[in-house]
């Protein structure tokens, strides 16, 4: 039993490649839990960060600094009355949130958190991701229609038009990144997510810096299109609370509504992962070719532990700055316990980093490597998640005709140009 477990930790292939269904199931459960947890964290972070952008405090009452607010929210949503309008199409109304949720979570099968830290590596990885994530729009469209009400229908129509237009530009820049993977000795590119990161590793450059500024422009277009694709501000035309009350989910309440939110945040993480994989080197740490001395390896492997240590320090600081009044006693104890938990995780990660510092093939070393890969991948995705909040706090919503104009008349021509130029430059300077 223990031996089998250790052999999995030291595995060098994905469970899909090894054909091990049990291990694949474990990976699926880990990813599902991790993503759900990330959505919970994101919920809290978004409310706090938005509040701080607007010089407010945000949630402060439920738990220290509102840390338990997402749990309270989830409980409230589960207990709320679940209303299905009488005029609604019952079955479609029921199935719509599930379509979005399924599409958002299916994508995670091929996301490479590391060279072997993925459920499976498909030969058509990026194609699969784009296809399945584009199915998510069906959930929105169908929800808007099934509500049998005007605002949701307008939201659904807007959403479908927006998705179809931005998908074109998105697909073209993805093709330009895939073109870059073919610049090797054999001249054969790849669509596999793991293969794309390995191509960046081989060429020694993240694709965002390749053929500067072509890679950067492609990345920028993808970064804009993915905001539109996930219906987030400033492209949240489908919801547009000031125009359509809540857009496509106006008639939804309780648990069903929360499923839409879960799907939205899961889709945000998924598209950010595509951007990270295609242009930002996926699981690779910064400068893997330049700073590859064992000492550098060791210093970089301390990063996960130090990050959690930093978070723990912030929590300790928060505990110390808590007002001395006896009303805050429980909150102070709670925050101290949270700091202790973070500190414990930091300590654990540091111990693993030290135990697995040798670059051999022992299980400890492999485990340490795995943690490094997942850490760098998640860190890059986290930057995108923060950007999503930042956009929302900064930019006003576009008008629908402006949105269409940008999609078809600016982004599409630029992405076509980038694609053609990438092909030309790739042939001239291989």
């Amino acid at each position: 039993m223990l031996n089998a477990f250790m052999s999995y930790l030291g595995s060098t292939v994905t469970p899909g490649e090894a054909g091990n269904q049990f291990w694949a199931l474990i990976y699926v459960l880990i990813i599902f839990t991790g993503v759900s947890l990330a959505v919970v964290c994101m919920n809290w972070l978004e409310r706090k960060a938005l509040a701080h952008f607007q010089i407010r405090l945000g949630p402060m009452r439920v738990g220290p600094h509102g840390l338990l607010q997402p749990i309270a929210d989830a409980l409230k949503l589960m207990l709320k009355e679940d209303i299905i309008p009488t005029e609604a199409d019952q079955f479609v109304f029921w199935v719509a949130p599930l379509i979005g949720l399924l599409a958002a979570f299916t994508v995670y099968t091929v996301i490479p958190f590391g060279p072997s830290q993925a459920v499976s590596d498909m030969n058509i990885g990026i194609l699969f991701m784009l296809g399945v994530s584009s199915l998510g729009v069906l959930g929105i469209v169908v929800a808007g229609w099934a509500s049998n009400s005007h605002y949701p229908l307008i939201g659904a129509l807007r959403s479908s038009a927006q998705m179809v237009s931005y998908e074109v530009a998105m697909g073209l820049v993805v093709v330009s990144a895939i073109l870059m993977t073919s610049l090797n000795a054999s001249g054969t590119g790849t669509l596999s997510m793991i293969g794309i990161v390995q191509a960046q590793q081989q060429q020694g450059v993240w694709f965002i810096f390749k053929f500067f500024p072509l890679g950067f422009i492609a990345f920028a277009i993808f970064a804009i299109a993915m905001v539109a694709e996930t219906n987030r501000a400033p492209f949240d035309m489908a919801e547009a609370e000031s125009e359509l009350t809540a857009g496509f989910h106006t008639e939804y309440s309780g648990l069903r509504w929360s499923l839409f939110m879960l799907a939205e945040y899961a889709a945000m993480i998924a598209v950010s992962s595509i951007a990270v994989t295609l242009w930002l080197g996926g699981w690779m740490r910064p400068f893997p070719n330049l700073l590859h001395a064992p000492a550098c390896e060791f210093i970089f492997s301390l990063f996960p532990g130090l990050t959690f240590g930093g978070l723990a320090a912030i929590a300790v600081l928060g505990t110390a700055r808590m007002p001395a009044h006896s009303f805050f006693k429980i909150q102070r104890i709670g925050l101290a316990a949270f700091a202790a938990l973070l500190g414990f995780i930091a300590l654990l990660l540091l111990v693993i980093a030290v135990a697995g510092r040798s670059a051999d093939t022992s299980v400890a070393a492999r485990f340490r490597e795995g943690i490094d890969y997942v850490y760098w991948f998640v860190l890059k995705v986290a930057v995108f998640m923060y950007l999503f909040i930042w956009y929302r706090a900064t930019w006003p919503r576009y008008r629908f005709d402006q949105l269409m104009k940008i999609g078809w008349k600016v982004m599409l021509p630029i992405s076509l140009g980038v694609l053609v130029l990438t092909a030309i430059v790739g042939v001239i300077f291989p």
Partner: protein, 190 residues
């Protein structure tokens, strides 16, 4: 047929045996047929469109089982993700209450029936002569390089024209003409 498929698969992919292949085949095929029937029997156009999406997805699953992941991926992106969203977009603008009360079958149904029977006969004869028409010894199930093989077929490799390059270019030219036609028809003045 299934046992033949299984043996072929197991000889090629000894290290990566597929899971419950007949089971998946029957589930996907049953789903495709059932939702296909729902497409033509549902009175509500949106329900029919949703059933069509299920059909397309299960056919994509069948492509995956035939070791053609590229075709499966394109099927999902183009049909399920793109075309069906546009279908729904149009259907939602149609007055469904009225259209669901109208008679669904017009007087042309004998012609349709005849065409369907002819197609059925073709399929039955194809299956009856299947062993001669589709020999299974020529199968090359290289899932890992499926995309690359399609590219070699369409574009050719190392200065040699691909087997289908000409047909592919003609098809893309036709699509371009269709796009231009759509633009010209919608614009009154260019």
């Amino acid at each position: 047929m299934n046992s033949a498929m299984n043996s072929a698969v197991s000889t090629i992919n000894a290290g990566m045996a597929p899971v419950a292949t007949p089971w998946f085949f029957y589930v996907l095929a049953g789903l495709a047929v059932a939702s296909g029937v729902a497409v033509i029997t549902r009175r509500n156009a949106v329900h029919a469109a949703l059933a069509l999406i299920v059909t397309l997805l299960s056919v994509a699953g069948l492509y995956l089982m035939l070791y053609a992941p590229f075709v499966a991926g394109v099927q999902i992106i183009v049909y399920a993700g793109g075309i069906m969203v546009l279908f729904l977009f149009v259907i939602m603008l149609v007055n469904i209450e009225r259209s669901s009360k109208e008679r669904r079958f017009n007087r042309m149904w004998p012609v349709g029936l005849a065409a369907a029977c002819a197609l059925m006969a073709l399929f039955v004869s194809a299956i009856a002569k299947g062993n001669k028409l589709f020999p299974d010894r020529g199968m090359t199930l290289l899932e890992s390089s499926n995309t690359q093989q399609i590219a070699a077929m369409l574009y050719g490799e190392s200065s040699r024209m691909g087997q289908y390059t000409f047909a592919f270019e003609i098809a893309s030219l036709l699509l371009l003409v269709a796009i231009l036609g759509a633009v010209i028809m919608t614009k009154k003045k260019i």
